[in-house]
Structures are given as structure tokens and as C-alpha cells.
Amino acid sequence: MRRMRNRIVKAIVVVLVMASAGCTTPEKTQIVEDPLPRAFDGKPDLNGIWQTIGTANWNLQDHSAAAGPPELGAFGATPPGKGVVVNGEIPYQEWAVEQRAQNFTSRFREDPEAKCYLPGVPRATYLPHPFQILQGGPKIMIVYGFAEANRTIHMDKASPEPAPIDSWMGRSHGHWDGDTLVVDAAGFNGQSWLDRAGNFASDTLVVEERYTLLDRNSMRYEATLADPSVYTRPWKISMPLYRRLEADAEVLEYKCVEFTEELLYGHLRRQTGG
């Protein structure tokens, strides 16, 4: 590549190391290598392909292994997992507990994931599919493997503009809080689910996401969900994201629409031989 300057800058940080008690020198300056990759502007460099490991997409809360549709054998079963909800409970309003239970019952047909619908936020993050972060210009783009979902994170708008219309993926504004990328997302259409267990939010959902690099290959992902129509208070999920380390890693095309056509339109097919 002709014009690209290959500038991998090893950033360094100056750390003040406090002397331990009894030492004669009260403090000294030490230069250590920054564990974080940095972008051209000194911000943590989140570029790359990332994915969660875990079972948050099956159920954000603690769950045992469970059967799926019998015809799918173990393919459709739910793997067990520990919850990612900080403090364990999702503070649903009373009516919402009921709604969540109904969602659970109808999940194999009604979960938007089964229909290859856009996954919404934060679910897009912990679907069992990789996603790529493109960070460089005034917009950060996240390209998800699932259902051609993508998000534009506006880093160039000083104050959040309300979403012009509600949408599945909402509208995202980002800023840096120290070394953490903070993304405020709102303007959702309220049709997304949060997992296959029927956890949900409404169109008044506001999500604050925090992406914090821990080292080159991992980051902490936290999302606080506030939705006064559904919950009694904001609540938070937290999980690590892992870099896909394969040298040839790429987000492959996963256009799942056609896999849902039987589910959605099968009853409208021409019946032959009947």
C-alpha cells in the first residue's frame, strides 16, 4: 500500500510510583509500556474484530441447561451459563414480568433473532457472531455479522441529536471518558428482545454502553439500560469482549433472511400434490 504510513506508535505513559513506607526517596518516575494499543489521536485503538464468549444471548440471567425444540435434538438446546446482569436481577415492573414470561413461551417463533430481524442494542454485541469496529474518522462504525446489522456512532456531534425516527438499532452518539468509549444509544422501536429468553425493553429504552480496552486483545463491555416504561430502575450488564485472533479473521456475510422464509411465509406457499 503506497501511501499508508505504517505508524505503529508505541505509546508510553509516565507513571508515578509511590514509594513504599520507609523508603528514603518519596517518589520516582518510571517509564512503563502502555498495555493498550493507541490510535493516531492517542485514544485507545478499538479497531478489529471482536466477539463475546458466553451465553448472554440465550439468557442474560443465570440459567441451567435446557431443552430446545425436540426435533432439533441438542442443536436447539440452551447451554448453561452464569448471568451477566450486575447484581443478578432485572428490575422489571410488575406487568413486564408477565410479558417476559409470555415472550419466553413463544420464543421459538417470536424471538426477532429467529426471524433474522435487526438485533437492537445491546443484543447485537453478544450475539454469537463476530463484529468489526472501524475507528478512525469522525464516525465509528460497527459492522455486525448477524443480519447485516450496523451502527454509526457519531463522535462528531457535540450533543446528542434525537433520532429522527425510531429504529431497530437506534441512534448512537459516542465520546471518550478517559480511555473508555462511551456510547449513548436511544431512538429504538421497542421491538427488539434482549435475549432468547424473552427479556425485553420498550421504545423508551436508553442505553449507555462503555467499551474499555483491558489489553490488546480484550475489552470490558458494559451497558446500562434505562427504560421507565419497563423497569423500576436502570440496570447494567457487564461482560468481556475478545479479539478474534485468527490472522485471516473477517466478518463473513451472514444474510439470514432466506433461512427464515419458511418460518415467516411457509403458510403462503403453493401447496402441491394436495
Binding site: M1, M4, Q132, G137, R269
Partner: protein, 579 residues
């Protein structure tokens, strides 16, 4: 006879001008201004469908009976309904025959949209007007058709007002006009040839007319200075008479704020309109060196929100009848308008102009997309290519009923438009967002929402075992040009018959601050005897355009409707067949 009750005048204008008897300025209701995105198409439409007369000397004007309608090439932010001018009306000798004729036109293309009454009929009887019905022009003006043998051609303007009586009074006081009653049943104001009626607007305040489909009314009179002075004395909000830039004569113009948000122009006798300000012609080739900006990490910066709107309407192949190398701006505008109307007849202009923002960009004057071969035509097809083309044509001609989703196009199924089709300007949602990071360019098409992440550092292409709808894109920078080679298509979203043996080479080059030149080379030796190349420009529109989430599959009611319609049709056919 002028309507001049001092008492009523005071009631309207307040006590300030108490006791000042005023005669209305003697003005003629001369013409009105409709906004359109393509003047020549609008002239054609009014001549063809409403029997108005075109005027070779004044190409923006049609004469309908005693009234001139002047079209203004201007973005409209909505139709005429809901403003202070609800509709215009044209009178025919036989309105029933006219309505039948217009119904037969259909809504397709630059067709005619009918407004049906609740019972499904298109004509009804109204007090004073007799038999009447409503249609819409393709640009959002509501038009009433009436049958008044005493006044054929342009018949009336129908205002909407919070206080219809006061509104008519205002027009009488300001411009003259004679209070009269049509057939003793409908009270209005008579201006020389035409009527002015007003009906009550019950939904709050009518929206201002400027920038709507009926932009403003125009009255002509002798001397503007005297009139303006008198109007001011009457308490009318009027601008200073001026000679607008580009005016064809020395006649001047002033604008008045009429009641209910109606904009009114008053012009002096001899007014011949304003010369169109020369439009910027889109550059299809740029020779002047442009210093392409660089990203902070040193790659050419092609980021931003671009749209293919200006390129919409360019045919792939050069039409045989076109001799010149580029169209005039007017021809280009007309071509795009034809294409737009032909594709989205079901949508209103309001939606097109506000949502699509077409009028913000001058249409491309490019004659054809194909630039190589230089004759602008595709090279000869192979036998296989011809076979596929014939079967495609056959399918399009016969359109067999779909047995299931698989029988429909991948676009209808919301799967993909394929490549290079996903880059092609369509009739709406032409946004293209490009975001770069070191070593990657993400190219996101708004339509269907499809994103390709193109590596610009050497990366082996997929080895051929993994096939994708959009193939595998691999890029590199050649100077300022991003060259993307795409292959490894699954062959199920074909382009002109080319499928899994297609190699597509795209070139993206920023040739100006707001222009991204895009070319695509199609190489599929199984379909064509030689490769060929097309080109068009994207225009940058960061400030105003934001890609919307085109959640196509999530709202694909069309699929349900097409399939259930097909099943219903089959049932009917079976029943008819005696089963």
C-alpha cells in the same frame, strides 16, 4: 362594483385605520405558481391531461382558459392540501367524460391520481358547483374538476381559512374582485375570468403556501408604488416593490402576506417573469487537479455520506437516438423526473422532496453509464448470455405467480440487490456511507442496508470455497483511487446474467470536494465477449443526508401480500376452471 364596507374593514383591521375609506386596488388575478421538480414534464402533464395550452415563447407556462399557470423548478415540502390554498379547479364541458379519460390514464408514470369519495365514486354533486371530483398532479397539487358551461378552463382557486368570510373580504378589499354567487349556491369572489372561493379550515391554522405545491398567487396591476402605499395604509403586510434579478421586463414585483399563510405576488403590467438562474452543471469528468484530503494515518479520505441521487435516471446503455455527448440540464431534469415518476408513482411528491431531497442536486447530464466501449453499448453477449437474457425477458413478460419466496427477486425478498446493483442509484434511499479505519474501508449502502468491509492491505481473497452474495471484496490504493476487486459470488443475485464467474473491479476516486467518481468494470467471459465499464458520480451530502435504517425484511409486508395474492388468484382460477 367594489366591496367596501368601512365597518367591516375596521372589524378586520382593527381600530388603527378607523374612518379611512379606501378603494381596493384594481388588480387582475393573473396567474399562479406551482412548484415542480421538472418544468417540462409538468407543462406536458397539464397540456395532455387538462387541455391547457403550452406557449413556445414561455416554456414554463401553460394557459388554462383565462389563467396562466407558471411552474417553478423548486423543492416542495408538501402538497397543496393543508395550506391556505387547498386546490385549484378546472372546468370541462363534460366532466364525466373527462374523469373517465383521466381514470384510464392510470397512476403509473406521470399518471393521474384520483381522489375517490367515501363510496368509491370519483364524481359527486356539490352546491353551486354541480358535478365535481378531485385529482392530483404528480407534484402534489390538488385539482378539482367541475362542469361549468359558463366558464370553461381555469375555474377557481379554493382557499382554506380559519375565517372564510374574512378571507374573501380581504381579497376584495386588497385586489378588488366582485362578491358573487355561483348558481346562487356558492358565495365567492369573481375576478374578471375566474372565481375565488374559501372554505373553513377546521384543523387549526393552515400551513403557509411558500414551498408547497401551490406556492403563491399572482395579481397584476398598474403601478406598484401607489398600490403598496395604499395596502400599507390598509394594514397589509407588503414588501417593497423591486425589480428582481433576472426579470425579463422592467415591471416590478412585491409580495403580500395574505390571510391564512397565503403568499401573493403583485406584479406590474408587462411582467414577463424571471429568467431562470443558470444551474450548475454536474461535472462528469474533472480534469483540474484536486488535492484529495488524507486521513490522519495517511490514506486518501473518501469518508462521508454520499448519494447517487444526481445519477438517478442515467441509463446503463446509450440510447440510440441520443447523438450528443451530454444532455442539457433541462433534458436531464426531465429524464430523471420521468424515471422517478415511472418508478414510484404511488408516492407523493411531498414524500419524495422531503425524504429524498432530490431537488437539492442537479441531475447528471451523462448520456449513459457505460464509458467503455466508447459507443456506450454493452459488448456482444455469448450464446449463454443471450440465453439468460431471453429467459429473463420471458420471466418479466409473463410474471408467473410466485409459488414461494424463492420465485421472487432477492431485492423483493430483502436479501440483497447484489453487486454492482447495490451501488446503483435507485429511486429512493440512495445513501452511501463510507467510513475508514487504518487499512479498511467500510462501504454501506442504505437500500436494504448492506455493508462491505474492504481491506486495503494485502489480504488473500476467500479461497473459493466460501461463496457470498456480495462476493469477496479486496482493495488497494492506486494513488488516490481505491481499487476494489470482487469475486467469489454465489451467483444467486445475478447482474445482467453474470453470476459466479463475474469479476467486478470498482474504482472510487474523489475528483472534487463533493464528488466521488465511481466506476465498475464487468468481466464475465461466460456472458460477454469482452469486459466493459460503467461510471457515475456520487455527490457528498454530509450536512443534510443521514442514512436511515432500511429495515427491509423486518417490514416486508410486500412479500406476504404478493404470496397471499398469488394463492388467492390461483383459487379463483381453480374455481373458474370448475374444480
Amino acid at each position: 362594483m367594489r366591496y367596501q364596507s368601512i365597518y367591516r374593514q375596521i372589524r378586520i383591521l382593527g381600530a388603527v385605520i378607523l374612518g379611512l375609506p379606501l378603494c381596493a386596488v384594481a388588480a387582475e388575478f393573473d396567474h399562479l405558481h406551482l412548484a415542480t421538480s421538472a418544468v417540462s414534464e409538468a407543462v406536458k402533464w397539464y397540456v395532455e391531461h387538462l387541455d391547457c395550452a403550452a406557449d413556445e415563447e414561455r416554456p414554463k407556462i401553460v394557459t388554462c382558459g383565462k389563467m396562466d399557470i407558471e411552474f417553478v423548478a423548486r423543492p416542495s415540502i408538501g402538497g397543496s392540501q393543508g395550506t391556505g390554498i387547498n386546490h385549484i379547479s378546472i372546468s370541462f364541458a363534460d366532466v364525466t367524460a373527462k374523469m373517465h379519460q383521466l381514470e384510464a390514464v392510470g397512476v403509473s408514470g406521470a399518471g393521474v391520481r384520483l381522489q375517490r369519495f367515501d363510496d368509491g365514486s370519483t364524481l359527486k354533486t356539490a352546491p353551486g358547483l354541480g358535478k365535481h371530483g378531485f385529482i392530483f398532479d404528480p407534484w402534489g397539487t390538488r385539482i378539482e374538476l367541475v362542469q361549468d358551461p359558463a366558464l370553461l378552463g381555469f375555474h377557481h382557486v379554493h382557499l382554506q381559512s380559519v375565517d372564510p368570510k374574512a378571507a374573501l373580504k380581504w381579497y376584495a378589499d386588497v385586489f378588488g374582485g366582485e362578491p358573487a354567487s355561483l348558481n346562487g349556491e356558492l358565495n365567492g369572489l369573481r375576478f374578471d375570468g375566474v372565481w375565488l372561493f374559501a372554505e373553513e379550515y377546521a384543523e387549526g391554522t393552515p400551513a403557509p403556501t411558500p414551498e408547497r405545491a401551490i406556492d403563491h398567487l399572482s395579481f397584476v396591476l398598474g403601478n406598484l408604488d401607489d398600490a403598496a402605499k395604499q395596502w400599507r395604509d390598509q394594514g397589509v403586510d407588503v414588501s417593497d416593490p423591486t425589480l428582481p434579478e433576472g426579470a425579463r421586463t422592467t415591471a416590478r414585483r412585491a409580495f403580500l402576506a395574505g390571510p391564512d399563510g397565503v403568499l401573493i405576488a403583485a406584479v406590474e403590467a408587462g411582467w414577463q417573469g424571471v429568467e431562470e438562474v443558470a444551474q450548475e452543471v454536474q461535472q462528469t469528468t474533472t480534469t483540474a487537479a484536486y488535492d484529495v484530503p488524507m486521513t490522519p494515518w495517511g490514506e486518501p479520505d473518501i469518508q462521508g455520506v454520499w448519494t447517487g441521487n444526481a445519477a438517478h435516471g442515467i441509463p446503463l446503455e446509450r440510447p440510440e437516438e441520443v447523438a450528443s455527448d451530454s444532455l442539457t440540464t433541462q433534458e436531464a431534469a426531465a429524464r430523471r423526473e420521468r424515471g422517478t415518476l415511472g418508478s414510484i408513482w404511488g408516492y407523493e411528491r411531498e414524500w419524495r422532496d422531503t425524504t429524498l431531497g432530490y431537488d437539492k442536486l442537479t441531475p447528471s447530464t451523462q448520456v449513459a453509464m457505460i464509458i467503455d466501449p466508447p459507443d456506450g453499448r454493452m459488448p456482444a453477449m455469448t450464446a449463454k448470455g443471450q440465453e439468460i437474457a431471453a429467459s429473463t425477458l420471458d420471466y418479466r413478460t409473463n410474471r408467473p405467480l410466485a409459488a414461494g419466496p424463492e420465485d421472487l427477486s432477492t431485492w423483493v425478498r430483502c436479501i440483497t440487490r447484489g453487486l454492482p446493483t447495490m451501488m446503483m442509484p435507485g429511486v429512493y434511499n440512495n445513501g452511501l456511507q463510507i467510513v475508514q479505519s487504518p487499512g479498511y474501508v467500510a462501504i454501506q449502502a442504505e437500500m436494504i442496508h448492506e455493508t462491505r468491509v474492504v481491506p486495503t492491505t494485502p489480504k488473500p481473497a476467500l479461497d473459493g470455497k466460501i461463496k457470498q452474495w456480495l462476493g469477496s471484496s479486496r482493495g488497494h490504493w492506486d494513488g488516490d483511487t481505491l481499487v476494489v476487486e470482487v469475486k467469489g459470488f454465489n451467483g444467486r443475485a445475478q447482474y445482467q446474467g453474470a453470476g459466479d464467474s463475474l469479476t467486478l473491479t470498482e474504482r472510487y476516486r474523489r475528483v472534487g470536494p463533493t464528488t466521488l467518481e465511481y466506476s465498475f468494470t464487468i468481466d464475465d467471459p461466460t456472458i460477454w465477449v469482452a469486459p466493459w465499464t460503467g461510471m457515475f458520480n456520487f455527490k457528498k451530502d454530509d450536512d443534510q443526508y443521514e442514512l436511515v435504517e432500511y429495515a427491509c425484511h423486518e417490514g416486508n409486508y410486500g412479500m406476504t401480500n404478493i404470496l397471499s395474492g398469488a394463492r388467492s388468484k390461483e383459487r379463483q382460477m381453480n374455481e373458474a376452471g370448475g374444480n
